[in-house]
Assembly symmetry: C2
């Protein structure tokens, strides 16, 4: 993971511009095993940051570097769009996330109905429910309603929820998202939701319903997030779409 992040930084800092160095050159530069380099390359390829061109190596995906305000949906560990913002690449690569949150609700409760179905648990299973308005650089980013199984995330409080919950549970409980199901819809927001984000009822939003899974494919979190900003772009890389 560290090597993948370091290669990413070198791409963002324009040290690698068009193409990655060869596997052997990367092994030498990072002083790690071939396996470690291959894993790092696989991570970057699965996120769409680089693409293998048969017989000629790994090329940097220029569309991604050109885009501003890109949310890399394949890099789930917290929303860190500023890492991929063209206008801030030079200065902000190592800065902390500029996303912060206003916590609307934080409940220690139980799963019900659709939430129980998404989390693949019985109704009455203990969960945390957290509703937040999130801001990016002080501007409205989204309204998020998130559910966490207490079996995997035994403790949350308001202070934690003001920052990145994913960063917290990674550090505290060693939980990382291994795979995810994302369901995207065009919606118009309800009167209640509109009040929370200072919009008119019926304002359009992109709704992303996410289910996030552990390495063993157990869901530990699901959420429903409304994004309002027309400047935001959600990026998905798709691969192995057909069999060979």
């Amino acid at each position: 993971m560290q090597v993948a992040q370091q290669i990413t930084n070198q791409i963002l800092q324009k040290e690698f511009v068009k193409q990655l160095p060869s596997e052997n050159e990367l092994i030498e530069q990072y002083e790690v095993s071939r396996n470690t380099i291959r894993n790092a390359i696989n991570v970057l390829a699965s996120q769409g940051l680089i693409r293998r061109v048969q017989g000629s190596g790994y090329y940097i995906n220029q569309h991604i570097l050109r885009s501003t305000d890109l949310l890399m949906m394949g890099a789930k560990n917290g929303i860190k769009p500023e890492k991929f913002r063209k206008d801030s690449l030079k200065n902000d690569i190592n800065s902390n996330s500029r996303v912060n949150s206003k916590v609307v609700h934080l409940d220690d409760t139980t799963a019900k109905g659709e939430v129980a179905a998404m989390l693949e648990c019985d109704e009455s299973t203990p969960i945390y429910y957290c509703e937040r308005v999130r801001f990016l650089n002080g501007n409205l980013l989204c309204l998020e309603k998130a559910y966490y199984l207490k079996e995997f995330v035994p403790f949350l409080n308001e202070d934690i929820c003001k920052k990145s919950i994913f960063d917290f549970i990674k550090k505290q409980y060693n939980i990382e998202t291994e795979s995810a199901d994302d369901f995207i819809k065009l919606v118009t927001i309800s009167k209640e939701d509109a009040k929370l984000v200072d919009k008119e009822a019926g304002a359009p939003a992109i709704n992303i319903r996410e289910i996030n899974y552990l390495k063993n494919n157990r869901p530990f979190n699901c959420s429903s997030i409304n994004y309002f900003d027309e400047n935001l772009t959600f990026y998905y890389h798709l691969d192995t779409l057909i069999s060979h």
Copy 2:
């Protein structure tokens, strides 16, 4: 691919309900090699239709079967949402796609600006430009503006564009999408676009900008599609999000 499609049909027909049979049972049932079965399983897993649970096999992703009007974005070869519509699973599994199109423009032209960048070609490279209003079961689905490199798609006409272009180029030119970059945004539509789809200017839409790649990672097509229907859900499965 055939085996993956056959397993998919068995899932949709509820012959496999919760879990897939074991690899050995599938080998016996389909009378194919272990490799063929593994490839088929990988295709279904990469599309999110099944999930591997460590030590206990492959489980069918119930969230997908429960959802209606789901566009499986990992299954790019044509838009065939009715295959995944809950209310029509029983009758329509083997029916033809009910998507048809009204062709607004079809031009034999050259790449320019952003299109040349997305297709990774020089400006003045020969392309087809096709603009269509697409309908699903007679209801407005989307407004699509698509660009095809003539190097890979040497011929298109209006009759072809009324149906699935992807189906045509697969049959005619053996072209299939191996990987794709999808960029999703909330937009409001222009006056000109609004007229074409009988909407008010400023109506909201989900815009998906796609770049589709061949097996050797050359882009052959890009498009910008506006979807208007609040009942449509776009489904993305994400995997290998972190390294191990």
